[in-house]
Amino acid sequence: MAHNITADAAHAHEEHHESPVVFGFWLYLMTDCIIFGTLFAVFAVLRTQFNGGPNGHEVFELSGVGIETAILLLSSITYGFGMIAAHDNKISTMRTWLGVTFLLGLGFLFMELREFSHMIAEGNGPDRSAFLSSFFTLVGTHGLHVTCGLLWMAVLLFQTAGKTELNERMINKLTCLSLFWHFLDIVWICVFTFVYLMSVI
């Protein structure tokens, strides 16, 4: 009897355990962290190598960066609301929040690409100086991640269309993307602090 209760408790505990899929994805994020760490190290070394070209003061526009930051921060919390709805099995609410997150991500990407094209049009592309090469590599890699996140989000929106119940597999997929999305927001904190703000001090 007592044994049964313990077994049941252990089983119930087992059910609430995080899926190994999510842990595996977490490990991937950690390796991604090292990629970004490497790119930040490169930027830290090359940030003063202007080769007669413009410095951060001349090429960065803080107001645009501020808006990008606000968009990304907002998209983090809207995805969070989507996850809460997903755990409550409110699929249409979840899909609405995911849609909002998708649009915010798209807005972020649009602003970033506009900034890049402005800089390139003024002759301050990645080929101008080591500083700009490392800037485009670092911020471009983050933008590429955001693009992948958006594709993934579109796929999940497609896969959850018309569903009445979310199985564990789908919840795991949504959880992995939520980790990815929040992780990108953390990387962006480092980008706006160490790339943009540090360069205009």
């Binding site: 760490g37 830290a44 921060l73 969070g80 755990h87 205009v200």
Partner: protein, 110 residues
């Protein structure tokens, strides 16, 4: 409503309240960082130190409120992997900056 949800399942996927708390703190920290740089209150090195500190605090806030990192046994390996990664990245970035700075001085390229 949302609190009951979290405690009932015991899972760490947050509540509306925790997301909003994290969001408000993040907005304040971000605004503080941008404000410090735009207002030129401190010396350049002082500002750099201050915004670095703000970034570290904000990362921790995001980890706790958005990525739901905590000290529970269920999260132990996640936290362990994260700690290992943080050490790796610190060695990577710190080591690179240290070596390249030293090289630059010895080569008299600055």
């Amino acid at each position: 409503m949302s609190d009951a949800h979290t405690s009932a399942s015991g899972e760490s996927h947050g509540s509306v309240g925790s997301y909003l708390t994290g969001f408000v703190i993040s907005v304040l920290l971000t605004a503080a960082a941008f404000g410090l740089v735009m207002a030129h209150t401190f010396s350049p090195s002082g500002t750099a130190g201050a915004i670095t500190l703000l970034a570290v605090v904000q990362i921790v806030v995001h980890l706790i409120f958005f990525l739901h990192m905590n000290a529970s046994s269920e999260q132990r390996w996640n936290v362990m992997a994260f700690a290992f990664t943080v050490v790796t990245v610190l060695i990577l970035v710190g080591g690179t900056v240290f070596i390249m700075h030293d090289t630059a001085i010895n080569m008299m390229s600055r």
